[in-house]
């Protein structure tokens, strides 16, 4: 196990940095703000007696819509122990990721809050990587929601990205929150597996994304169709 100063390009620092990306998206992500890992500048790892392994990282993240980059300092603790438990992350970013998206978010919120026909879409992006411009904010929303799962599920032996939204269905607005059911496909680079999860979450500009339920779906390998959502 690499301890001490890490090569920022090697997998240990890269996997830990990806966890920070997921954490930042759960905190700051929205239909109009998504963060991606841009670069790892430096990293350090040490064993914390009886707790686990702690990584200290200096990274840059890029906001995908505005293309602005900013630096963050972060700490990731991967717990050791018999139960598989989630990493703990702390991060401090320069500009506190204050890109103003309020107007767009509000417009989206109002449009879909009042919508008579509830949104329903499948396979975003499609096989050709295409996303309908109208669907992009919902793609982002599902990425943000799936970041909660990816954060929870991450370890030193995983590297998660959301591969695709298999299905997103809007449910009736509840307590002024837009509500969605999302069937997402995660890709773990290390095992190369595609893992199916079903997520129930709410969103509003004020409250952000709140995940109500998450459930891993068994995937039948030789089946041709994904399991039914409804």
């Amino acid at each position: 196990m690499a301890t001490g100063e890490l090569n920022p390009n090697h997998y240990q620092a890269q996997r830990a940095a990806k966890v920070v990306q997921h954490y930042l998206n759960t905190r700051y992500g929205s239909p109009y703000r998504l963060l991606g890992l841009h670069k790892v500048h430096s990293g350090n790892a040490e064993d914390v007696a009886d707790s686990g392994r702690k990584y200290q990282l200096e990274i840059s993240v890029q906001e995908t819509l505005s293309n602005t980059t900013e630096k963050c300092s972060a700490e990731v603790l991967f717990p050791r122990g018999e139960q598989q438990s989630s990493p703990q992350v702390q991060a401090l970013c320069e500009a506190h990721l204050k890109i103003n998206t309020t107007a767009q978010e509000e417009a989206l919120y109002q449009r879909y809050k009042m919508n008579q026909s509830l949104l329903s879409a499948q396979y975003i992006p499609d096989s050709y990587g295409h996303i309908d411009p109208d669907m992009k904010p919902f793609w982002h929303l599902c990425i943000v929601a799936s970041s909660f799962i990816m954060l929870n599920e991450s370890s030193e032996n995983t590297l998660y990205n959301m591969a695709q939204v298999a299905n997103i269905t809007q449910l009736a607005t509840e307590n002024d929150q837009l509500k969605f059911d999302c069937h997402i496909l995660l890709h773990d680079m290390v095992s190369q597996e595609i893992i199916h999860w079903k997520l129930l979450f709410t969103w509003s500009p004020q409250e952000g994304v709140k995940v109500l339920q998450m459930e891993q779906l068994p995937h039948c390998h030789d089946c041709e169709k994904p399991p039914n959502i409804n």
Partner: protein, 358 residues
Amino acid sequence: MLSSVGLSLVVLLSVVGAATVERVEYDYYKYHPMPEITDWMSQVQKDYPDVVTIVEYGQTYEKRTIKLLKIGVSTGEKKKAIWMDCGIHAREWIAPAFCQYFVREILQAYKSDPKMQAMMMNMDFYVTPVLNMDGYIHTWKDNSTRLWRKNRSPGPTNCTCLGTDLNRNFNANWGTLGISYDCCSNIYCGTQPVSEPEAQAVTYFVGSRKEDFLCFLTIHSYGQLLLVPYGHPDFTADNYDELMKVGLGAADAIRSVHGKNYTVGTSPDVLYANSGSSRDWARMQGIPLAYTFELRDNGTFGFELPQDQIQPTCEEAYSGALHIITYAHDKTFSGAPATAATLWSMLLAVGVTSTTLM
């Protein structure tokens, strides 16, 4: 739809009696299903008959013929060679797109660039646009099959899943690290080394000509990486320094095109340990410059890279591949490029072609 368009064209031609056809240009910046790629290969061979040959070198599990394009000037002698394969993993659609682009680029360059002309004189390029044809075709079936990775051979008798990860099936430290013996796993290494017909095809074809190959490039996605042998952390290639130097040069070339960073290193350093890869096998055969290219992106779109990124991805990857290929060529034929180019321009001036010489 395509065949009905073709039929209308034939009818039109016979009515008009036209001798020449304005052929629809092949769109290199869209993803193409297998039948279109096969037709494209035939068309390329027809368009450049003196430098392109189609070679059939194996069969997939579902009995499809695996083909490559052999590109180079026939000199009547045994030539050094460059290997490139794409689509070993079915869902990595940008890889076959790159192989097609690469072929188009080298043939274009051949028309007017003395350096490429010299390289084609001295070497043959063997390009397999889609190695795992069965898997690739499966990913085109419907939305639910898009993310298939392996080939389509059945697992061992008691297995409810199918497919073997071809890039864990080669005879290179097979079955040791970064694999699974679970036949349902996406990194299932197969029942034994080279158990899979697709891996056998490459092993036999390249293996029987291994002294000829200067360079073995295997194209994948995603991750923006250039991986050097070996996948096992305990083994270091004896030319590791050279592999890194040339790899870093290729990454610089890539970055200069569109600013994208590709990380260079061994798989255990920058990605994960693995065994049974085609790259490791090639290096073990003695092919000095063996690289795995992991193309765009970094996880935003992943395997479903948008079509509007095909062009920039191919442009940068071409730059990187060319850097490695040029290095391999110049190392072997130092001094020769000038000679070959001069000879070639002389021949062209006199209006003599290589076929006339034969």
